[in-house]
Symmetry: C2
Subunit: 227 residues, 2 copies
Amino acid sequence: MAEKAVVLLSGGLDSATVLAIAKTQGYEVYALTVDYGQRHGREIDCARSQGRAQQVTEHRIIRVELPSKHSSVLTGPGDVPTAQPHLPTPTIPPTYVPARNTILLSLALAWAESLGAEDIFIGATAVDYSGYPDCRGAFIEAFENLANLATKAATQDGKKFHIHAPLLHLPKHKIIKRGKELGVDFAQTSSCYDPDERGRACGRCDSCALRLKGFKQAGLTDPLQYA
Amino acid sequence: MAEKAVVLLSGGLDSATVLAIAKTQGYEVYALTVDYGQRHGREIDCARSQGRAQQVTEHRIIRVELPSKHSSVLTGPGDVPTAQPHLPTPTIPPTYVPARNTILLSLALAWAESLGAEDIFIGATAVDYSGYPDCRGAFIEAFENLANLATKAATQDGKKFHIHAPLLHLPKHKIIKRGKELGVDFAQTSSCYDPDERGRACGRCDSCALRLKGFKQAGLTDPLQYA
């Protein structure tokens, strides 16, 4: 019987690719999408499409109210900045969401434990990225260490949690190539921090810039419609 | 100006005492209560009373949907067991909630970061307790380590997070004595895992048993009404 894995699925191209990687590795996938009030709600629709298209065993979309929602432009007031010419920038941009990946991994851990799964996948990447501290290898390792101290499964039942971040050291164009090889439908992914009311990507934010550059370097056409 | 601290406030006697300790240490307190669907909803009312009585600067009560809610008797189906004669028991009881303290601390960390606070208080205790892995010192240390890798505040802005668990090594009767000294109103705390529809404690679960034993050893009377 296949091993179960929880895959954090945001609806972006990274997590859609990670889901395909987990499937390729033979896992029975339980996809978890967290609606934390992000302004790019289009992501949630894409996550739903990916879960269906990639035939996950179960897809949960849960709502979490962030106590810190006013301090990121992704969840509160303020404008999403236009892309910086070089990323990561010397300072972490205002699109940073406090402790986001810690919260996401905690919820994934809770579900994994209750499913009897030991494997959790996250689409963190630390090459073409915005310099977020919770996308780095040291963070992923520290969370894995925590998971193995925090849970009944690990401390009593002999389980060992692994946090898989298979994109960590890949530049964006290689992520896109990998996703393409695995048949990911990139038309059903959303990367933009600030889509318009029809869900179209702005083409101007850091996340759009990284995506567009990635497609270009990969020699592929981005199927998204930009505003 | 006083330093800010986030205090996780469940409404139980431990966290009510921790709140009083944080106040005594001079912190400006931001209390965080997480409604994760626990059947002991009476706790939330008590948390509200404690926040008011102890004059916190701000009290947030947030809702989080647990993907693992069916796997603990505190959030899903199944009976809360009656107290075991010796606690902690050799195996972790079904009242364990997967990754609960990891989730609570993650949310507290997000709020602390957005407030510019470095201090987070939690009422974890590892003496008279149910053997939950996420109430032990090693877990608290691992979370503190994670917090200092996970956040912009710590990795860019020179902040250093401290997770305070001032009750960690105290037996229940000493916690009760300390709370009493600090003027905590224990009538406005709830420990029971399975209160009746009027909010009265059952007197039979592990948590009631630890509380009742603690009051007895402290030579004090528990002001609660039991069913």
